[in-house]
């Protein structure tokens, strides 16, 4: 049985890389900015995107070590993005930040890949701990 080439999408998670990129996706710019500030204050490298499409078009998903994303967004949803990344063999740990979502949606997300969930308004310490856990994977 052959395995798909993993080098295409895992470069951001290779061991020894000094700054692991955290991508933040939220259609609310103020949330994006405050999350980036939080990450940077903890010495982590972060980039903001206003939509899942912008993130994919940037090509940076191939170097992302951890993705923080809203689950409900106007165009592509967090779950659709997760499925798209899975199709592209991008096994990025995802933290869904959400105030919504029923049990079914969260179970689906759990089955599709490595995920965690945080509720809005989120606890900064818990968020940073979760991000660090993702970067250690």
């Amino acid at each position: 049985m052959g395995l798909t080439d993993q080098t295409t999408c895992s470069s951001g998670r290779d061991r020894g890389q000094t700054s692991k990129l955290i991508a933040i996706i939220d259609d609310d710019e103020s949330i994006c900015d405050s999350l980036r500030d939080l990450m940077e204050s903890a010495g982590l490298a972060a980039r903001c995107f206003g939509s899942a499409e912008d993130f994919l078009e940037s090509g940076l998903h191939r170097q992302t070590a951890c993705l923080l994303t809203d689950i409900l967004m106007p165009k592509m949803s967090g779950l659709q993005l997760q499925s798209r990344l899975k199709d592209e063999e991008c096994d990025i740990p995802i933290i869904f930040i959400t105030a919504y979502g029923d049990a079914r949606m969260r179970i689906q997300a759990m089955r599709e890949g490595a995920v965690e969930f945080l509720a809005k308004p989120f606890d900064h310490q818990l968020l940073l701990q979760t991000v660090r856990a993702a970067l250690d994977l």
Binding site: M1, Q6, R15, I107, M110, D123
Partner: protein, 352 residues
Amino acid sequence: MADYATVTYPAGDQAERRFDRIIGNSAVLESVLDQVEQVAPTDSTVLIEGETGTGKELIAHGIHNASQRFGHPFIKLNCAAIPLDLLESELFGHERGAFTGAIAQKIGRFEMADKGTLFLDEVGDIPPALQPKLLRVLQEQEFERLGSGRTHKVDVRLVAATNRDLAKMVARGQFRGDLYYRLNVFPILLPALRERREDIPALVTHFVKLFSRLMGKPVDSIPAETMAAFRWYSWPGNIRELQNLVERAVILSRNGVLPNPIHKKQTVLMIPSLHRTRTFQSPMTLEDSARGLILETLEQAGWIVGGPRGAAMKLGLKRTTLLAKMRRLGISRPIPQEGTDVFGMAREDAQI
């Protein structure tokens, strides 16, 4: 004497398991996930039963994440991993001076889990003396720290797990009946890995990718024989054992090819009726029997397949037919590398 107040447990016990995922789509797993989905939104106590290594903690975390308590703490405690005399203080906390050595106040797991979920693993190991106190906190959602008269109210959902038969323990008087019924509101039985063999290839592939990335050792090929050996092994240690064997195989891999890490001595577990080393109940299919007979014959023939003394002759099969059957059943001669025996023996020693 140990300083109780400053005793810290390994991070592994406190740390949350994060980013673990549920892998597979077998009917038995789907049924478990349906139950998770049904019970998660309620605040009911869940009792997860299953053999060691079946993923009880992962399912407990899944229940937490699918519930309205997600985003609040998921706190776990393995009741078997804490010395009995410390368990009470671990669960409920203590005040300074509550007992000799309690030099500082300590917050218990129930308080840490407020508004979230507390996962009590190996709940059958809670000593009888502590069981009434656990029952009370489950019923009243209140407790006192050791050495304090002040009652604390908490809002905690309990998910308990066990690999022991609690009903039997109740019958023997080792576990309180009232606590058992309080825990057993919604039981979820996790299948053993041998009951969901169709999920094995996806699990193997997942762990190969994981270890290959962690070790920086690319593995591009899992030979059909290796995968078949994984599929047909009995997995008494379930997914945890599979994970460990994949790790071993990735260490042993050369040129990107995953070898079969299942030591030939471990195959006795696959042919229990022949070796009388049956350690668990498992259904025996025709394929299991055929596999057992072929393995046994190969062992006797010193792994010679053809010729007058070969296994094919003894089995009344053509050499090519036997080879085809071996390929299909994932039977291959154990890895010839010298290191394998060392690993295999070390593992067996550890099990004694």
